[in-house]
Symmetry: C2
Subunit: 460 residues, 2 copies
């Protein structure tokens, strides 16, 4: 690798991205120039006037990556919702009702992160796994523990992942188990402030690739005082915010009963609904809520995988997009059983179809579903990349000058892979659709974040 | 490898199977003896009286496979519904309505199998891919072409896959394109009879690992005369039968309009509903249809992946199982976008949840879905293995004496894999659930069919 600080990098080959909703672009023989600071300087197609000269310059530079015909450059994936401590139980215990899942598995597991050695082992393997799955930007719930949460931020920085990390606040003794909650509201707020400062002060975090997130778990687990205090901290420190919103019938109803308002409305009054808020799930948000969220410019983390298990309904994705809301995807590990944003794309498509057509064959076709709800692979891909970047107000997710170079290289037609293309009949769009439908972790061979190569599976 | 004809094989390690619906068994240090004819002779747990002596005998035999702690032996997967010729377009064109998908992509592609060289290339890579995904038994629709369909059967035999293969019949000029249909009803029937004879006579097919299947595409594409004739051929030759049943609103309604009966009822009258029939989809079958299917003992190929795109509703899986119907899974390549029966398990779980809870958050919770519809990972795994075997009336899908040894070895915790277990907290059932949720083709390392090792990815 070249000296990143001084020399630009060049990448040449087929790029695929979705610069705008519903619009995918496949550019063969594209030439991308990345500055030493990780910013994309230029993206040229062969028709560009300077192309030939630039390509010669690139090839001679010694910092030139030339992709083969089976290799494709895509923006790295943005995962807007991950419960980092739940990584060890990903893929199990999913047949349980939410209450048992939380009390018998999830809370005891999260509580074990008071042990920093345990946290180190889990978080290190998680960040490595997500990068290997192509997740270049990850938005994490950690646990209530200050030390372990800070460790997760450090590991993101060390491994080179763009990480938005939150120390979780859950301070209401009536709703949280004794063995796993903030000691008091004051402790919750003080630890959150310390966490914000400490993440920003991490040695090497000069480009803010790792950021703190103010993180009330959700309204039911927090006191009003904590929610108010967190709103003030987010405002004073200009922080991202994340929480769960209107996820299930129970959660949606609980908040209305307690506060007399929907989640969205209550968060807004607590100062927790901003351009930098990420609202996980949001399945039951009302039309009024959508308007409130649109005005705030907040983002939604659509989590179709875990919605299958815990949400009681599909997120009205198409309606949210039509209203101009910022939406991206979340794996929701471990309520979701996969760490792959590609899997999440597939389930987002399936979820939208199930909402459009409905599911009960005994119901008449004209009342079974909600017409016009479907999204296609292009929208799913946009959500996974540019949509996620837009939701976070970060310049990631597409190949344009001024954007950060967060990217993955996918190789088709490798031995023992289901990503098979037919050169004589597949167009570039077909290949992209096959990637969305069939690529897995093992097909992702290189990963760059902030211009830096952080995964190279074929390095000797 | 030892001489299969004379020497039994022994496999020692952790086995996982679902011998009965809702019942998964995980047996550590199991010892399985496989006869030279591919039949399981014995399955012993350490508590068995002869275990120690047999294990010594096995270890000394020179035909002993000893699995490591991260390796798991599972029954091979049974895929009840695959359109083999659609393999080159798997994962693309799925945003189209069914009519365009058929006329612009699928029928032109299938028509190209008149070229046997094209068929050879496609079918060879397909059978290799399915075996590499752990599919030991595959039920295939081929095309209308006798020669190419026979080639598919030959390739299954050559590669060692248990294959049930059908030359497709679609003879109605009003419903099928000129460039892709049987030349006449008589041709369709004569070619089907020739196909049945030729498959059974294939050199080396002595154990009938490859079998012919009488295959009307579906009622809409066949004349009554063809359907009657195919019923007679199936009866006279004691053949398996496959077709599509009540897949979508359109298809279900079309058959009722043409015949005055449901698909199920019409097939029954044509002699096409038997213990050896495989009915793809069956989403809209009525309670009466379920009773008819149960009495016939026919099997259903549940295809949750393609149902997302083309079915307009979820298959009422739980209801079918509660009525004692034989049900297994189908990938439905390429209406389904994945060749993996594990992916199909995941979508079967998701589909059942979407039916149970419903999908529209605007509907009241108590009218949104169909309560009691969910299935868990154990049922999905049963469908993928023993359920599929039972649907076909073949002795495959579980580890019991008298069953054929069709098996796969899955290895967890490999480099660059999402199948991660935690030895200190995961039970055997947890590991199986993680396999169902997260294993992919690359985690499957060995595949046996009829006792023969047909895939060994770690062979030097």
């Amino acid at each position: 690798m070249n000296d990143q600080a001084t020399m630009p990098n060049w990448i040449h080959g087929t790029l695929m991205h979705a610069p705008r909703l519903e619009t995918v672009e496949v550019v063969e023989n594209a030439l991308i120039e990345v500055g030493g600071d990780g910013e994309i300087r230029s993206v040229m197609a062969p028709a560009s006037p300077d192309y030939d000269a630039r390509l010669r310059q690139a090839a001679a530079s010694g910092a030139f990556v030339n992709l083969s015909n089976d290799q494709y450059l895509l923006p790295g994936f943005v995962d807007l919702h991950i419960h980092a401590p739940q990584w060890p139980q990903m893929g199990k215990a999913l047949d349980l009702p939410l209450h048992e899942w939380l009390l018998e598995y999830t809370f005891p597991l999260e509580a074990s992160y008071r042990d920093v050695a345990f946290a180190e082992r889990a978080y290190r393997t998680l960040v490595e796994a997500l990068l290997a799955n192509g997740t270049t930007t990850a938005v994490y719930f950690a646990t209530v523990h200050l030390e372990a949460s800070l460790l997760l931020a450090q590991i993101c920085l060390e491994k080179g992942q763009r990480g938005l990390v939150g120390k979780v606040v859950m301070d209401d003794p009536e709703q949280c188990p004794d063995y796993y909650r903030d000691a008091s509201t004051d402790d919750a707020l003080r630890d959150t402030e310390r966490f914000v400062e400490a993440v920003r002060a991490l040695p090497g975090n000069t480009a803010a690739t790792v950021r703190p997130v103010v993180t009330p778990r959700f309204i039911p687990s927090c006191t009003d005082a904590a929610l108010e205090g967190l709103g003030a901290i987010a405002h004073d420190n200009d922080c991202h915010i994340q929480t769960h919103v209107s996820e299930s019938d129970w959660e949606h109803g609980f908040v209305i009963e307690r506060t007399g308002r929907t989640d969205t409305d209550a968060l807004d009054r607590f100062g927790l609904l901003t351009r930098h808020s990420v609202l996980a799930h949001s399945n039951f948000i009302t039309d009024t809520d959508m308007g409130t969220i649109a005005r705030a410019g907040a983002g939604i983390a659509h989590c179709p995988l875990s919605n299958i298990y815990f949400a009681n309904a599909a997120f009205p994705l198409r309606a949210a997009l039509d209203k101009g809301l910022h939406v991206g995807l979340g794996t929701d590990i471990s309520g979701g059983a996969s760490p792959s944003v590609l899997d999440t794309c597939r389930h987002a498509i399936a979820s939208s179809r199930a909402l459009e057509d409905g599911t009960d064959p005994a119901a008449p076709a004209d009342t079974r579903g909600r017409p016009g709800s479907r999204v296609g692979f292009n929208t799913a891909f946009w959500l996974a990349t540019a949509g996620g970047g837009e939701a976070l107000d970060l310049k990631v997710g597409k190949f344009e000058p001024g954007y950060r170079f967060d990217a993955i290289m996918i190789e088709a037609n490798r031995p023992d892979s289901n990503l098979v293309t037919w050169a004589d009949t597949d167009t570039g769009d077909d290949v992209l659709q096959k990637i969305v439908n069939n690529a897995v972790r093992q097909d992702i061979r290189k990963v760059w974040v902030e211009g830096r190569l952080v995964v190279d599976k074929d390095a000797s």
